[in-house]
Structure formats: structure tokens, C-alpha cells
């Protein structure tokens, strides 16, 4: 095998990670541990971890193993087929990750969803947020070796999947919102199902907290690990709960409220410490905030249509017919030429979609910025200077999700 093939150009002077013992600062010797892709603690990525004894001296991430070119693919297809494509970036967070695209397309098409649709979208966004936080907690659990947290987290997620299946017809990638409304209306029994879901999760989450978050070993593993202060966090461009864990009081839902967020009362959860525990705790509190948002929205859920009147010009029956009919209508609609941008708060942070349209039904260019990508650098920085055993703890305290980062 050529020495230049893998992992990078290994010619002298061309490496970007430590190759020999003498290269470490102060003559310290290092061991380069290749973590991933076939490694239980790496996810779909590779980390080059340079160890000095047990201490991590340097970490070089090598993402891109699940890059699917969503931005490029989006250029070649009609805009209504881009929605389920974008969703696959982060399947657990499916509603939130496609939210900005829907909002941007609405601006381009001049559509305005009716109030009931806005409420329903926000409800679903918060439910997927809870599910994604649970997913990240479960993975944090298994990364720390707590298999019960993993099993309980996934069992709880399954309850959410069941409710999503009832409402939208799919369990994970729900593709619920469409430009100008939502795919399906909820029935009273669905509202009841959501209420019951929240009640059950509250009860089970109490056990989850007792066994996992209040566990002295968990606390010992997370407290004081991977600390980033406010200044560092802002420098590194961290978004979402991970920035809020260091005291950055920024939440798109509060600063630029979209859909029904302006009509609910909720606090932006922040912590001061900025360590792995704070990042976990912020997300834990956000689960409860999301639950209260869903409850408020359910209480004031307005009646009426779930599809914009403008979409009913072909056939007024489409309002009841659901997805097939409405998607057919889009074939008659053309986005106005121009640039459109939307930012929303996905579970792991702010997500941005920037559309360039030229008047055809194909999008000229779509810029899609996902939160995991923004957090990757900070995650790597937070690992440095800690022990090897802190690597998985810091990794999952950032809820890093490679498919979301790679797009």
C-alpha cells in the first residue's frame, strides 16, 4: 500500500496530526488512537485522538462518512420533493430539521398556513424535540456504560413513534409540514393520545432521572468535564442547548418566533457551568419546557382548516384529502424568483435554510446549515486536555449526530 493513501498524505511535513513522538509539545510522546468508523464509540465518523498517557493532547475529527450531498441533490428536483430529502439529515429530529425549508418555501410561494396548522406544526416540532433529546440522553447513557438509560430512552422514544404513526402515518421521518399547512389534520383521539403520551413520559422520566441523572457515577463522569466558557462558546460558534449550557441566552424560538411560538409562554433554559453536565441538564430541562409548550398549545388549539386557501384552487376537497391531493397542487405553483431564508431552532441548535429560486420549480441553490456541524469544532476543542475516558462523555454531551453534520 502506498503510504500516501491513508489516512492523509503522510510525507514529512504534510501531516496534520502528530506522527512521531517528538512532534508533541515539550518532547512529550504520543499514541494516535484511530477511533472510528468501525468503533463502538465513534458514530459515523472518525476521530484521530492523540494521547499522552491517558490525556488527550489533540483530536482531529474526520467527518463526512455519511455525506449524501443533500444540498446538491436539492438542486435537481422539484421543490416539493426536497422536503423529505432534507428530513433525512436528522431522522429523529425530522420535524425540526425540515421546518426552515418549509418556512422558506412558504415565503417563496406566498403561502400562509392557517392558525390550526401553525399550532399543529409547533406541537409536532416540540414532540420531536423531546424525542431527540431522549435519543441523545439514551446514547449518552450507553456511552457512559449505563445500558438501562439507553434501553429506557429508546423505549420512551418508541411511545413517541407510535403517536407519530397515529397522527402522520409514519413513525420516524414524519414529513408532517408542507408549504402552506400540514399533511394531515389531527382528530380528537390524537389530541387525547398526545396528552396521554405526555403524562406517561412525565411518569417514566422521573424514574429515568433517578436512575441515570441523579446517579452519583453519572455526575462524577460529567461534572467539570469538557468545560467551555461563554467567550469560547461564542468564538467557536456553538448553537442550541450547548451554547445555552454556557450561559448564552439565545433561542431562535424566542428571538425570532415562528409559527405558534409567539403565542406560548416558555422560558429559555440556560446554565452557567458549560461542562458536560450542564449540557445534559439544559437538555433535560428543555424536555420539560417542551412538554409545557405542547400542553399550552393543545389547550388553545384553534379549529378550522389545516391547509392554506391558496392551495385549494384546484379542488376544495383537497383540504380533507390529505397529502396526495395537496402535493399535486404544487405542480401548478412556481416560486417567485429571489432569495429566501429561514432559521429555526432545531433540537441541537439553530438550523438555517437559504434558498435561491429563479422562477422554475427547481431550486437553483439551497444552503442548509445544520447544528451538529456547527458544534463539531467545539466538541473537539472540549475533548482536549481531558482523559481518554472523557471522550465519549464529551462526544455525547454535545449530542453530536454525524448524519446531521454531514448532510
Amino acid at each position: 500500500m502506498q503510504r500516501t493513501e491513508w489516512p492523509f498524505n503522510l510525507e514529512v511535513g504534510n501531516t496534520f496530526f502528530v506522527e512521531s513522538e517528538e512532534e508533541l509539545r515539550g518532547g512529550r510522546r504520543g499514541l494516535t488512537l484511530v477511533v472510528g468508523p468501525q468503533h463502538p464509540g465513534s458514530g459515523h465518523m472518525r476521530l484521530f485522538v492523540v494521547l499522552d498517557g491517558d490525556m488527550i493532547v489533540d483530536v482531529v475529527p474526520d467527518p463526512g462518512f455519511v455525506h449524501r450531498g443533500i444540498e446538491k441533490l436539492a438542486e435537481n428536483r422539484p421543490y416539493w420533493t426536497v422536503l423529505p430529502l432534507v428530513e433525512k439529515a436528522s431522522i429523529m429530529d425530522s420535524m425540526n430539521i425540515m421546518y426552515p425549508l418549509v418556512l422558506a418555501l412558504e415565503k417563496a410561494l406566498g403561502l400562509e398556513p392557517p392558525p390550526r396548522a401553525k399550532y399543529l406544526r409547533t406541537i409536532m416540532a416540540e414532540l420531536t424535540r423531546i424525542r431527540t433529546h431522549l435519543y441523545d440522553m439514551a446514547l449518552l447513557g450507553i456511552f457512559l456504560g449505563h445500558s438501562t438509560a439507553f434501553m429506557w430512552g429508546f423505549a420512551l422514544m418508541d411511545l413517541y413513534a407510535e403517536v407519530f404513526a397515529k397522527i402522520t402515518g409514519t413513525r420516524t421521518t414524519i414529513a408532517y409540514p408542507v408549504p402552506g399547512g400540514v399533511r394531515r389534520d389531527v382528530k380528537p383521539e390524537h389530541v387525547e393520545a398526545i396528552r396521554r403520551l405526555l403524562e406517561v413520559s412525565r411518569r417514566k422520566l422521573k424514574d429515568f432521572k433517578t436512575l441515570f441523572l441523579d446517579n452519583p457515577v453519572t455526575r462524577a463522569r460529567l461534572e467539570g468535564v469538557g468545560t467551555l466558557d461563554v467567550k469560547r462558546v461564542t468564538e467557536l460558534g456553538v448553537v442550541g442547548p450547548f451554547a445555552r449550557a454556557s450561559g448564552v441566552d439565545y433561542d431562535v424560538r424566542k428571538i425570532h418566533p415562528y409559527d405558534a411560538y409567539s403565542e406560548v409562554d416558555f422560558e429559555v433554559v440556560t446554565e452557567k457551568a458549560g461542562d458536560a453536565w450542564a449540557r445534559t441538564w439544559v437538555r433535560w430541562r428543555e424536555i420539560h419546557v417542551s412538554m409545557s409548550i405542547v400542553e399550552q398549545l393543545l389547550k388553545n388549539l384553534p379549529g378550522g382548516d389545516v391547509i392554506d386557501e391558496a392551495l385549494l384552487f384546484k379542488n376544495p376537497e383537497y383540504r380533507r384529502e390529505g397529502v396526495g391531493g395537496v402535493l399535486g397542487v404544487y405542480t401548478y405553483m412556481y416560486p417567485e424568483p429571489g432569495e429566501y431564508m429561514a432559521v429555526t431552532e432545531a433540537t441541537r441548535g439553530a438550523t438555517l435554510v437559504h434558498l435561491w429560486t429563479t422562477g422554475t420549480q427547481r431550486i437553483y441553490r439551497m444552503r442548509f446549515v445544520t447544528p451538529s456541524w456547527r458544534n463539531l469544532h467545539a466538541m473537539v476543542e472540549a475533548m482536549k486536555g481531558h482523559r481518554l475516558a472523557d471522550m465519549p462523555a464529551v462526544y455525547m454531551s454535545f449530542g453530536y449526530f454525524p448524519p446531521e453534520a454531514d448532510r
Binding site: 463502538p40 464509540g41 457512559l144 449505563h146 434501553m151 457515577v217 463522569r221 475516558a389 462526544y395
Partner: protein, 322 residues
Amino acid sequence: MDLPFSGDLIAALVFPGVLGIFGFLVVAIWLERKLVARVQWRYGPLYVSKPLGGLLQPVADLLKLVFSELVLPRHTNRLFFAAAPILLFFAEGLPVVFIAAAPGVVMAPHPYGLAIAVVLVLLVAVLVVAMAWTEADKFTYVGAVREILLTAAYEVPLLLAALAMFILYGTADPYGVVEAQSNLWGAVLNPLAFVAYLVALLMATTRFPFEIPEAEPEVVLGPYTEYGSTLFIYAFGANYVKLYVLALLGSVLFLGGWLPAGGLAGVFITLVKMLVFVLPAMLVRAIYPRYRIDQALRIGWGKLLALSVAAVALSLVWRLLR
């Protein structure tokens, strides 16, 4: 002697000997999976032998492993690579030679039998490190170093807990030890030593809060990373054998061994008493994540050392009062 065969032959072949070790491997893996599944809203193994509650699942797994390809990596010393796990598994089982499961059911009755068993248990860590070194892999290397450090954390408390009991009984002969407990169990006389022994057992068998050498998200499988097939059974099962030996030792040292029975009934009583050590070791997997190695060292040389020193002090007080 009221046994059909000579006692030492039973000890060698059935319990606590060969059959006991392999049987424990199967039952312990099954029990662990079942118990943990209970906590985690699951059923655990059920596919193989549903009427037995999936008891044959580990057997099926082991058979599958026996008939899977034996890969001996080229970069290693192949002879040592194959021999290391066999020796490790064997060495983990060796201390049972000196531990009695019932009156007469012991391979080598020896006045210092239990002390020799303790020392043999402590010696095995060397083989784990040798095995990891033979594999010559970055992950096994880190795992080996962690194994050394973890050994440094539990060795002294384990020895002190044993020392406390030997001071209390004044002997290390399995019969003498059990006889000394005819009125009160050692665990009652010296609960501190019992707790110290239990925690040291969790560390020695790398059970959960201390499952550090084979921490998956960091070092894959630690010292066993390179192994497959039958050799993996040995490398991986060695910890279960150690648990078996330490549980047997603990039931003799702390729980009065085969008392109040003798003969064959004594064997079964010893088996039941072993559960006192085995069940917590299985259940901690469902309760605790793992510590870091520095935290484990701090516990071993902090609280656990203090506890075991207090246990020895308690034994000294008992001894002087008597």
C-alpha cells in the same frame, strides 16, 4: 464420609471443579442478561429454548463461537496469541483447588488454603496484561494499562479484607474458617470486611461501575479486542470464572460456607450462598455507568482502603476482646 464418590474427585470434576466452572459460565451469562432485561423493560433471551426461559441461549452462542473461524493475526506471535487466553481461563479457575465447597469436597486441603487462593486470584492480572500485550493493538494496549491500574486499585483492599477475616478466625484453612463461623457468620462479625470484599470483587471482575479495561466507547473490548472464535470465549469468559472463584471464596470466608449442613447438601448451600455475591455483581450493570480509571483509583486508595483498614481494626478488636 457420606458421599458416593471420594470428595476430592467430586471437587475436581463437578463442583467447584470443571463442570461447575463451565456451568457457571452458561448460567451466569443467562442470569445476567435476564436480570438486566427485567430492569430495562425487556424480556432478555427467549428465542432459544423458550420453555426454559432462554437458558440455552448462551450455549447456542458458545457453540456458534466454537465453530466460527479462528483468526490468528499475522503481526502477533501466533503461539502466544492462541495460548494466552487458554492460560488465562485456566489460571482464573485454578484457585478453586484450595477452596472447599463442603466437608471433604476439596481438591487440596491445606492449612493456608484460602490465603493461597487469594494470592492466586491476584496473580492472574499478570496474564491479562500478557494477553493484551501479545495482541499488540492500540486498544488492547490501553486496556492492558487500565487493567494494571485497576489491579493497583483493588489489590490492597482485597488483601486487607482477607487479612481481617484471617485475623478473626486465626486460620486460613477452609475447614477451620467455616468452623469458626458456626455461631455467627463472618459477614455479621465483620460487615466492613464484607463490604470491602464485595466492592473489591466488583473491581477484580471488572463488573460495572469499574468496567474500565473493556470500556466499549473508548477501547472497544479492551484486552479482548483481537480475539474471535473459541479464544474469545476464554478471554471474555475468564472474568466470569474469576467471579465464580471470588464468590466461592467469599461464601466460605464470610457466609459460613456449607453450614449448617454437610455432605452433598452442603454443596448446594454453598451454591446458594454464592448468589449473594453473584446477584449484586450482575445487577450493578443495570444501575451504574462506569467510572473513569482515575476515579476508580481514587476510590480504591481512598474510601475502600479506609473501609478495609477499619475492617482489620474491627477484627483486631474482636480478637483482643475474645
